[in-house]
Amino acid sequence: MIEISHVDKWYGGFQALKDCTTSVAKGEVVVVCGPSGSGKSTLIKCVNALEPFQSGQIILDGIKVNDPKTDLPKLRARVGMVFQHFELFPHLKIIENLCLAQEKVLGRSHDEAMAKGAKLLDRVGLKEQARKYPAELSGGQQQRVAIARALAMDPIAMMFDEPTSALDPEMISEVLDVMVDLAREGMTMMVVTHEMGFASKVAHRVIFMDKGEIVEDARKTDFFGSPRSDRAQKFLSKILSH
């Protein structure tokens, strides 16, 4: 479903991605990990063209992302994205956050969008909060709303960019629970995270990145059993030692 081949990206003179090649099959859950600044977030933002890249190509469900003729808003509407800092729209109520793009992008009627929004809020356990503003919710609740907002667009795949790293520890599990459910229902997911518990529970594959390169791209069991590269071993020993 997602084919990333030989992607290079520079920020001025700094190369953020170096010849990255990987793919994600339909229904597959891929965890992307690595030290900070290694290009993980940049990689998944390239998938829905939120970040442009200079060479290589990405094909999403048969559509070439870096083709100038591609209708990017339309393409992005089909990929759900969840950000580290939630990025709910603070001037809109929770339910309006869920309805906006459904109505303006997908052209759904207000009633239809409201019904879908209410259903998804219920699914993430936040039906009662529909009429509140984002600032009235906890971080964990806001992130669950952000997931519901992305799901409201009926995406073919979901990208998560460090969804739990801005959260207080006690709120991490409520967000991960939602993501685990989603993975078990067969959603195609790319997840940038350091939550190795999540990775070992639901991931099919783990990608380890360092300095803009994909150093290791392995099945979960292989990755946790015996990572081939020194860098991945070091990284794992650091984050698993606590």
């Binding site: 808003p73 992005r76 950000f83 990025e87 729209f89 303006k104």
Partner: protein, 230 residues
């Protein structure tokens, strides 16, 4: 000291001062603020569009307007607008433009330069993650601006925009140079007719002061409320 003054002149002319003069002043302030905000927001979007030419044009316009004294612009416009109208419509004679229309156009164009700088700061105060999240949902650039960025920028900047509108309210008194009966113009007419300059100008100053003070107080209250909600 006040023995030779006659403050009754104020009471006698209240109807004219407020029904005619103040109505004109407030209408001009309101419409100019609205027009200036719309045009100013467009200028701000041009400057932030990333398109060099558009940004350059908007920047030049803003700098030009901010470097000219308002009185001069009011004067120039009053004399130029009929000819521009003639040129635009291809008519054989200068278009007759009322003093109100002319001054409204002037204030919209002049205020737009100031409002655009406020809106530009407002747009830049929104974190990059917001437009990114909107785009990730499939919103186009213009939808992102309209539904996500501008409403937030406007709300954050509302106190500053209103403060600028209070300044505008005071500045509208400059249309007096076109002999328009705005509030100050009306007061000035009565003053000269009845030979009561000191009384009328004192009263006019008091009215401007009172309205601006109350409005500023209102803005401060609003600012506190916005800060609380965030």
């Amino acid at each position: 000291m006040f023995a030779s003054f006659d403050f009754d002149v104020i009471g006698r002319s209240l109807g004219y001062l407020f029904f005619d003069g103040m109505t004109f002043t407030l209408t001009l302030t309101g419409l100019a603020a609205l027009g200036g905000l719309i045009f100013g927001t467009l200028l701000a979007l041009m400057r932030l569009s990333g398109l060099k030419l558009l940004g350059w044009i908007a920047g030049l316009y803003v700098d030009l307007m901010r470097s000219l004294p308002l009185v001069l612009v009011i004067f120039w416009f009053y004399f130029l607008v009929p000819y521009i109208g003639q040129w635009l419509t291809g008519s054989s004679r200068p278009i007759r433009v009322g003093a109100f229309t002319s001054s409204l156009v002037t204030f919209v164009m002049f205020e737009a330069a100031y409002f655009s700088e406020i809106m530009r700061a407002g747009i830049q105060s929104i974190s990059k993650g917001q437009p990114m999240a909107a785009q990730a949902l499939g919103l186009t650039y213009s939808q992102t601006m309209r539904y996500v960025v501008l409403p937030q920028a406007f709300r954050n900047m509302l106190p500053v925009l209103l403060t600028q509108t209070i300044v505008l309210f005071q500045d509208t008194s400059l249309v007096y140079v076109l002999s328009i009966p705005d509030f100050l113009g009306a007061a000035s007419k009565v003053a000269q007719r009845d030979g009561r300059l000191v009384e009328m100008y004192l009263f006019a100053a008091a009215v401007y002061f009172a309205i601006s003070c109350v409005a500023s107080f209102g803005v401060r209250r609003l600012q506190a409320r916005i800060a609380y909600v965030h």
